[in-house]
């Protein structure tokens, strides 16, 4: 990451303004953003959701989504103003000199065509190279990006390839015409940490190899620190500040930037270990469970004690959510059992008494889809109040108001609103209130913060911690984010391929020696240090990071 600002200018975005349409009126969503990008330089665009990062990224290609328009400013790419250029002129540039890598490769590859056919489309259509040449080039790029079976993988359909591999295939596709500029729009946000690190390494290598300039959009500071030469911070469509990466990390000028940097600092004091003879609230004992004939969980056992938080971590597909489904009785275990305060629970929720059901509640990852969009907040929370507590009429309303106050939302203001009138963080609070309404002893939190911005997520974590202290709740916290684990867990259970590979108190977990898989997970979490990825690669080598290492275990 040397200084590239002396090199020739590639892209100049000047006072770019965008408007979005809502209810038939155009409202500004990006209010004047300017930046320069030189050849071979990587600019990181960061901000929370709604900051306009993706909109700016797309506008830098002269493209806007439906319902968005460029209302002012200019985007000069190598002398052409993409704001005023004709659709034809832009089509000549897109794919050929400016390429795009989307957040979800699974959704952005056309399911109807083979990967390599989509790869060769741009070079062939733009007359950059012939089909045969382009296919060979694709295989070479796949090999460079360390995809398995580079000769063959392109001839598969997108659904036959894993998410991390698809993301790399999409980076290869963006490279197909050797563009001057690539826009990376949150390319690793949807991936597991171990997969993310591989994709990050691959992207960085190929961008350096071909000396491509890039705009790297993300909300993850640690990621952008590895990728970018310079960082620009956006907040609600406005520039906050821009600086060279190291200076931005060590010496942010603006209050907002500092608050972003400080988010990961929330940490609860450690609790004393539970008494040896204490009866756990939930005890998972040798649970083996299957979907159809395939065993997904293999003899999973762990305890959760009163007033404590157990974080269950692991990659997607490791069986975290399946374990939760067994505890709630949605998936009766094939072998083993779940005990609640010493008494075994019936395997299926159908066999459990109302009181047993009441004790175990759940908060979901997507608050958006977990709340009925047609019911008011009062109805959503009132339902379990009535079902479990038997309260009606005025008593029910009073209880709902009490719960709203508990989750720090003003009752009179929110009780009659619909979920669509709330922000993401507020919706998640409603999810919490709904779980609390049953007055449970135990709550399963399934990735409750992963869809939220860091500042909002921190608020939710603090709220959950306060409620735990106040009500003596036990949590099972399913997450793949180790920063979250560090801030709130008392104990950690590490899962891989349906088995528990390591469990213990948080402090044991985060201090070596680790189980090799735990070590891999921990080492894959990006750190704010811009040299972190380079040093890790130097230390371990490409073979010993990410999925490549995980698959060998």
């Amino acid at each position: 990451m040397s200084d590239k600002s002396h090199r020739s200018l590639l892209l100049r975005v000047e006072d770019l303004q965008l408007e979005g349409r809502s209810d038939e009126t155009w409202t500004p969503i990006v209010k004047g953003v300017s930046f320069d990008l030189h050849k071979g330089e990587v600019l990181g665009l960061i901000g929370e959701s709604g900051a306009g990062k993706s909109t700016v990224g797309l506008a830098a290609m002269g493209f806007t989504r439906d319902g968005v328009r460029i209302s002012g400013g200019s985007v000069l790419f190598d002398g052409t103003d993409l704001v005023t250029a004709s659709a034809d002129t832009k089509r000549q540039l897109l794919g050929k000199r400016i390429a795009y890598v989307a957040q979800s490769a699974a959704a952005s590859f056309n399911p109807a065509h083979k990967i390599i056919d989509q790869h060769t489309e741009a070079p062939v259509r733009h007359g950059v190279s012939g089909r045969k040449e382009s296919e060979e080039d694709a295989m070479e790029l796949y090999a460079r990006l360390r995809l398995p079976n580079p000769e063959e993988i392109g001839f598969r359909y997108p659904h036959q390839v894993s998410g991390g591999q698809l993301q790399r295939a999409m980076t290869a596709m963006a490279m197909s015409c050797r563009p001057d500029l690539i826009i990376f729009d949150e390319p690793t946000t949807a991936l597991d940490v171990t997969t993310q690190i591989e994709v990050l390494a691959a992207i960085r290598k190929i961008v350096e190899d071909f000396d491509t300039a890039a705009i790297y959009i993300t909300h993850d500071l640690a990621v952008v620190a590895q990728m970018a030469d310079r960082i620009k911070v956006l907040l609600r469509g406005e520039e906050v500040e821009e600086a060279e990466t190291r200076r931005m990390l060590s010496d942010p000028q603006e209050e907002y930037t500092r608050s972003l940097w400080a988010v990961r600092s929330f940490k609860r004091p450690a609790k004393p270990a539970p008494a040896l003879d204490a009866v756990p609230v939930i005890s998972v004992q040798g649970v083996t469970a299957a979907y159809g004939k395939m065993d997904i969980l293999h003899g999973v056992s762990f305890d959760i004690h009163a007033g404590r938080t157990v974080a269950v971590v692991g990659e997607s597909g490791s069986g975290k959510s399946t374990t939760a489904r067994c505890i709630t009785g949605l998936l009766p275990p094939r072998l083993g059992q779940i005990e609640f305060e010493g008494t075994p629970l019936p395997g299926s929720f159908r066999g459990r008494s109302k009181d047993q059901l009441r004790q175990i509640q759940m908060i979901y990852q997507m608050a958006d889809t977990a709340l009925n969009p047609r019911k008011t907040i009062g109805q959503i929370i009132g339902r379990p109040v009535e079902f479990y507590g038997g309260l009606r009429g005025r008593a029910r309303r009073a209880r709902v108001e009490e719960l709203l106050a508990q989750i720090e939302l003003e009752p009179s203001q929110y009780i009659d609103r619909l979920p669509s009138e709330l922000s993401g963080g507020q919706k998640q609070r409603i999810g919490i209130a709904r779980a609390l309404a049953a007055e449970p002893r135990f709550i399963i939190c399934d990735e409750v913060t992963s869809a939220l911005d860091q500042l909002v997520a921190e608020g939710i974590l603090k709220l959950l911690a306060d409620l735990q202290d106040e009500l003596g709740l036990s949590y099972m916290f399913i997450t793949h984010d180790l920063a979250t684990v560090r801030s709130i867990a008392d104990e950690v259970v590490v899962m891989k391929d349906g088995e528990v590979v390591e469990q213990g108190s948080k402090d044991d977990m985060f201090t070596p020696p680790h189980h090799p898989y735990t070590d891999l997970l921990l080492s894959s979490v990006p750190e704010m240090d811009p040299d972190w990825l380079s040093e890790l690669l130097k230390e371990r080598g490409l073979e010993n990071i990410g999925d490549a290492a995980s698959d060998r275990m």
């Binding site: 000549q92 989307a102 959704a107 399911p111 109807a112 733009h126």
Partner: protein, 329 residues
């Protein structure tokens, strides 16, 4: 692929069950109609005795359940029976070979399939092209014009469309014959020429549905990330729609095409009458008029079979159009 075979077998078995139910419903329904074959044939001059005699000859005096089972037994052995009209004629006049229902229907059914085939050849490519263009130039004058035209043609009665076409293409500009008198042994070219006018009429009737489904299915996909990706690769709008959207929109389009093709086989009697086209529809209506149960039954089985087979084909093609199902992990 194993799943496709299983679906085919399952559906065919269900299809046979459906045919059985259809035959029961039709048999009962025709019997519920006021009057029977004897009354219909003899008309106002009927005497009690003559009616009784015809009923006896045709077995109409027997119990309805027995008659149905008798007919069913024949069908299972591949014998669709002989039409009442033929039997009555023979018992009065004597002599001559009796034409079975199968022999009676076969040429008519062939004609119907020919008309349906010609119509499909014109209507399916036309409506998909119109749909693609309407999606490409959505909300433009072309889109609105195509919608207006196809919607007004589907909203007009078929005989009206038929007469409008006759007026323009047979009377004012006499390029096509207004009568479609098809007979056996006719050359293909001549047959095609005679069939063209009814085929065009039916094209006007079925195009709107298929075109609008094509347009809607494509437009629904246009906001998906892979379409955005294709645009960001600098692919031309036409190619984006034809290569990136259309293959993913096929399932609903295929289903609507199948429904319309089934309509072309079963629902075209009005057009047949206008053009005097000797298809199965006319035969069917005549048979219902004189309560000629064997013919009605056979025609209904063919209609039901057409629906079942076309829907099955549509389902299989929808599955095959989905690479996730065609190439499992």
């Amino acid at each position: 692929m194993g799943s496709v075979t299983r679906i085919v077998v399952q559906r065919l078995l269900l299809g046979i069950l459906t045919l059985l139910v259809v035959s029961i419903v039709i048999f009962t329904a025709v019997n519920l109609l006021p009057g029977d074959f004897a009354q219909a044939v003899l008309g106002q001059g009927a005497t009690e005795e003559a009616i009784r005699s015809i009923r006896r000859d045709l077995g109409l005096d027997q119990n309805i359940v027995l008659r149905y089972l008798d007919w069913l037994g024949g069908v299972v052995r591949g014998d669709l029976g002989v039409s009442f009209a033929q039997m009555n004629f023979q018992s009065n006049m004597g002599g001559g070979e009796m034409k079975t229902v199968a022999a009676q229907i076969a040429p008519r059914f062939g004609n119907t399939m020919f008309l349906a085939g010609v119509t499909a050849m014109i209507a399916v490519p036309l409506s998909i092209t119109l749909g693609v263009l309407a999606a490409l130039y959505r909300n433009s004058a072309f889109d609105k014009g195509a919608n207006l035209f196809t919607l007004s043609s589907i909203s007009s009665p078929e005989f009206f469309l038929a007469y409008v076409l006759i007026l323009f293409l047979a009377v004012i500009y006499p390029v096509l014959p207004s009568l479609s008198n098809i007979y056996e042994g006719m050359g293909f070219g001549e047959r095609l020429e005679k069939t063209l006018l009814p085929a065009l009429t039916l094209t006007l009737v079925v195009t709107a549905h298929m075109m609008r489904m094509t347009r809607a299915a494509i437009i629904q996909l246009l906001s998906s990330p892979y379409i955005e990706m294709a645009r960001l690769k600098g692919i031309s709008p036409m190619r984006v729609i034809v290569r990136h959207a259309l293959p993913n929109a096929l399932a609903p389009i295929i289903n609507v095409i199948a429904l319309n093709l089934a309509y072309l086989i079963t629902g075209v009697v009005v057009v047949e009458v206008v053009f005097v086209y000797p298809g199965i529809g006319q035969l069917f209506v005549d048979a219902v008029k004189i309560r000629d149960i064997p013919v009605v039954q056979a025609a209904c089985l063919i209609f039901a079979g057409a629906y079942i087979l076309l829907n099955l084909t549509a389902d299989i093609m929808s599955i095959l159009s989905n690479p996730r199902l065609r190439h499992p992990k």
